[in-house]
Symmetry: D2
Amino acid sequence: MLKVGIVGASGYTGVELARILNSHPLVELTVATSRSFSGRSLADAFPNLKGLVEIVCTDRKIADYAGDADLFFTAVPHQTAMEIVPALLNAGKKVVDLSADFRLADAGVYEQWYQPHTATTLLPEAVYGLPELHRLRIQQARLVANPGCYPTSVILGLAPLLKAGAVDPDTVVADSKSGTSGAGRSAQTATLFCEVADGFRAYKVGEHRHTPEMEQEISKLCGRPVTITFTPHLLPISRGILSTVYASLAPQLTQEKIATLYSEFYKDEPFVRLCKAGSYPATQYVRGSNFCDIGFKIDSRTGRIVILSAIDNLVKGAAGQAVQNMNILCGFPETTGLLTVPLFP
Amino acid sequence: MLKVGIVGASGYTGVELARILNSHPLVELTVATSRSFSGRSLADAFPNLKGLVEIVCTDRKIADYAGDADLFFTAVPHQTAMEIVPALLNAGKKVVDLSADFRLADAGVYEQWYQPHTATTLLPEAVYGLPELHRLRIQQARLVANPGCYPTSVILGLAPLLKAGAVDPDTVVADSKSGTSGAGRSAQTATLFCEVADGFRAYKVGEHRHTPEMEQEISKLCGRPVTITFTPHLLPISRGILSTVYASLAPQLTQEKIATLYSEFYKDEPFVRLCKAGSYPATQYVRGSNFCDIGFKIDSRTGRIVILSAIDNLVKGAAGQAVQNMNILCGFPETTGLLTVPLFP
Amino acid sequence: MLKVGIVGASGYTGVELARILNSHPLVELTVATSRSFSGRSLADAFPNLKGLVEIVCTDRKIADYAGDADLFFTAVPHQTAMEIVPALLNAGKKVVDLSADFRLADAGVYEQWYQPHTATTLLPEAVYGLPELHRLRIQQARLVANPGCYPTSVILGLAPLLKAGAVDPDTVVADSKSGTSGAGRSAQTATLFCEVADGFRAYKVGEHRHTPEMEQEISKLCGRPVTITFTPHLLPISRGILSTVYASLAPQLTQEKIATLYSEFYKDEPFVRLCKAGSYPATQYVRGSNFCDIGFKIDSRTGRIVILSAIDNLVKGAAGQAVQNMNILCGFPETTGLLTVPLFP
Amino acid sequence: MLKVGIVGASGYTGVELARILNSHPLVELTVATSRSFSGRSLADAFPNLKGLVEIVCTDRKIADYAGDADLFFTAVPHQTAMEIVPALLNAGKKVVDLSADFRLADAGVYEQWYQPHTATTLLPEAVYGLPELHRLRIQQARLVANPGCYPTSVILGLAPLLKAGAVDPDTVVADSKSGTSGAGRSAQTATLFCEVADGFRAYKVGEHRHTPEMEQEISKLCGRPVTITFTPHLLPISRGILSTVYASLAPQLTQEKIATLYSEFYKDEPFVRLCKAGSYPATQYVRGSNFCDIGFKIDSRTGRIVILSAIDNLVKGAAGQAVQNMNILCGFPETTGLLTVPLFP
């Protein structure tokens, strides 16, 4: 049994890690840190865990808990992560970091969108943990930068097309809609039930920090720098992201040819499910699962393709993908603990 | 007091007309037709109306009820409308039709997206009832074709930019999200609570029938034929549409210049509210009202503009706009009965 | 035009007062106090008000704004109200207080459930503002204590039965379910969207502070002290309370006799709507309105009656009832500004 | 591997069975019948199953599929079940029936609440499948009548108290609230999204068919006939039941003594979780799981106890409990395939 720890266990992502790891047959959760619930059972704060997850939260120093596990998930805010991760690596641990701190290979880009980076020496070895694109590098990594939720949905939707040169990357527009759990569990007026329920809005239009992350991966796929337009929206649901992505299609490409591109690209991927022609993904069909469902439609009247990509932002967009990365890192079968049927309705 | 009738009173749009007309000081509701509730009080079927709206539904023939009102709202499905409207006009009545049957001036385009048109002789005189664009023609009309909900939000969001040549119309992508009331009140599995709640999906991608309606008005504004890409989505809310519209911006246009374009274009419009820089509309802020709230953001990194436009699909997207059209048609002050504060939360 | 002020304008109740007062033809809103939005337009914080409500929030001292209005709504937390209300009364103003501070005539009871009372001299003149029970006293009051939301629904549901001795008051159980707006707009984890959505729970079981308020009014109706069991629950909706009330029925009482009791008791009440036999109220049919809808069913197998009572907690349960009280206080027709059709769906 | 079949696979309960069985290591799903999806993959109709559940729906006659499995779950409406179950038993199969047809031991009571019973000879051997009360009989049964969702929550909440004589059974009032999936997946206006969302109502007050089922089990526990008052309500959520149950408490019983009663009664039960004093269950903490969470509060002011009991209506209230019954019937460890962490948020 691999001993694993969760640093930042009492946010939605931390609790989701605890949920998923609980049914993972090859790991044991031995550390859960939380400032706000220190000394309390994690299941006291999150009664869904009751009777299954027994761990007590701690607020000890890194040096005091690092020895208790072999691999750590760091589910803390950006900037906090870059303080913790180096110490864990120095202690000889493997780390799957769920923050943004190690996702951008270029520290300059990071600093332009976030704040100064204090652990730049780790950037060269950090691997962007999207297994469908970077599986081999993940296998050998000490530090995996788990992708953002929006980028996971957008990049997986676009990758086969970009790789094949089927779309003009300069025309990419990503219109994404996310459930509210993506905003975290800290108390704030903007995510109160009454502010979100029965409503819908865009936010951080043209300036969301997941933009450079998408552009980094899209640029890699295209072999040249690409900028895209990205608009996030807030859905009155707890879990789920649907990204609707637009791009101009190269000539002569039919529904069938594109379908083949996708099925070839993802033919060995256990967590990508492709929709049949005429059907599209929905967030409710991936709820609670690590699947990314993808569909598309050619709008022949305008020469564009419309790609639809759905994930559960807390699973494939965070905790589930982190466990998938752990499986790869540790040589476990990649789907271990992750092949559960989405909860519908 | 103007006597008005609602043909098709027991759908969500019909009931919404009854709600709005109830607080309109210059009209009296004298006819409400409904096949399913014939002989029953409309308030029995819709208890929200109880104590205020006293009318009993009828299923009589047109000839039998046409004399009971001076103006009719036809809130029936397309194809049914083109059977009823000619008879009402022949009886000397004014008609605000909420179906799609008289929105497309070109019968050929209509037949391509719908089915054969059997009242083409009325098309030349039907006025597309978007007051912000066609107020003068509405004043003189016998037959107003009340716009679709999606087109209302998209066209109002784009009009000032298209009129000024500020965007490239060939790059327009409209990504719209609608509440479920837009799907109507007939029993179907796809709109059951459990199918919609806590979920999100696109539908009719690239083939929704509101597309030609948008293109007709956009083409008029541009002075040449334009095709656009339009994707509707289903929100787990009852009321509200938010359209996120993308287009390439002409050079040299700043946030301030665009803001001026909008404020000039809509300076006398009582139902268009413009958001300040950095703030965006939300469906919950227009709920139950006839407002269209509009905001935008220039994405200077890509040279695009992102326009956000929010309406209540049952009000500005249907019944409210119909009453606004009635006010114009009848020479009432345009805002009569329509200036209520949106219900939030 | 009566000049009115809202003390505490930026909570959900304050904003709802602004919404309702905006369509009241006999008043003008001249003061809106708010600590958090001082100096900002109320419509900036609540964009639903944009274009209709123009007032700017102030954080001045009472003495500085008291002169600007003739009647004040105090929409502040309990304990704060008892600091503000005496000063407003001393300045010669009329006050409708929406807090709990003046609802309980017995200071001892108040102090048992809340904290020490520092304005007990005002208790004898404060009138419990449930117009259906205390209209005459409200007409002559300087200070009206606007009832709590739960008590409004429970008391209106029970009053005709208790008054007629039709039920055994010692068997009363009130099981109430409220929308989340009742918890207010301050940032707290427990009312975040993700904590409330798609869920349901009870809270403060057997110890909610609205209990003594119900008991006070029930005891008055019975002519002797009565204690009841009350359980509040949190619904994943923004607005609405449904109370399901149980009591043992006196013998020989039929559905028809009880229906007559209700219709007699409420025959002149503009805001109480009675359901026909076999139909029951629903929160969605009173949304946004000042109505209280009441239905009941005799469970002859057990000798109990089940009473269902629905209100919008922000309207009849708070701001609407406060305006109704203002209308009575000021000699306006009681329904002025309040007869709007509930928003459904 | 045990071969199992689902008769009626395309309702919400059938699909939930498919979901749960998919992660059960000891069974194989070999039959799924559905009239509406005959010949189609079940995963086509319910894309959440895609990639995991491969079965194709059939509409063959019983005789044609009975041989393909050893145990059947009949997830069909009452009355249909009594036509199918005898044939399956005659074919030597074991049956867990999820309808109401075999729950009531007394055919007379059944016929009073439902319609004539045509398989009364099976009633004596049918076992009411609430494992916490009838585990030993379930072990030896051929036919298990899986309990209704409401009765599961109410009976588990009351059983320890009734068994110990701690409450007066004649004072029991059960106020239950259910998610909309309980109403099934057939198209009907009453359960459309817009009719249910952002609302709350009671239905079938005093006449719901789950009443006699509760009374049967409560009467067994009390050793004498008992009638109770039961009110179901419809929650705007997909999954979950919370029952709030009231009863007069015997004297001298403290919070501690009652807590001990519960913990003793349920000490070996893997699916009952008891809440600590002062905390209460919530439907969101059992979502997707087979748990029943129970809490209580003594209302010493009135001498009553308030019991709160939460389940997922599709799991412990239907499919999960059916699998638990299968596990018992077949000698599998009772928790096999059922110990998953509830999905929150």
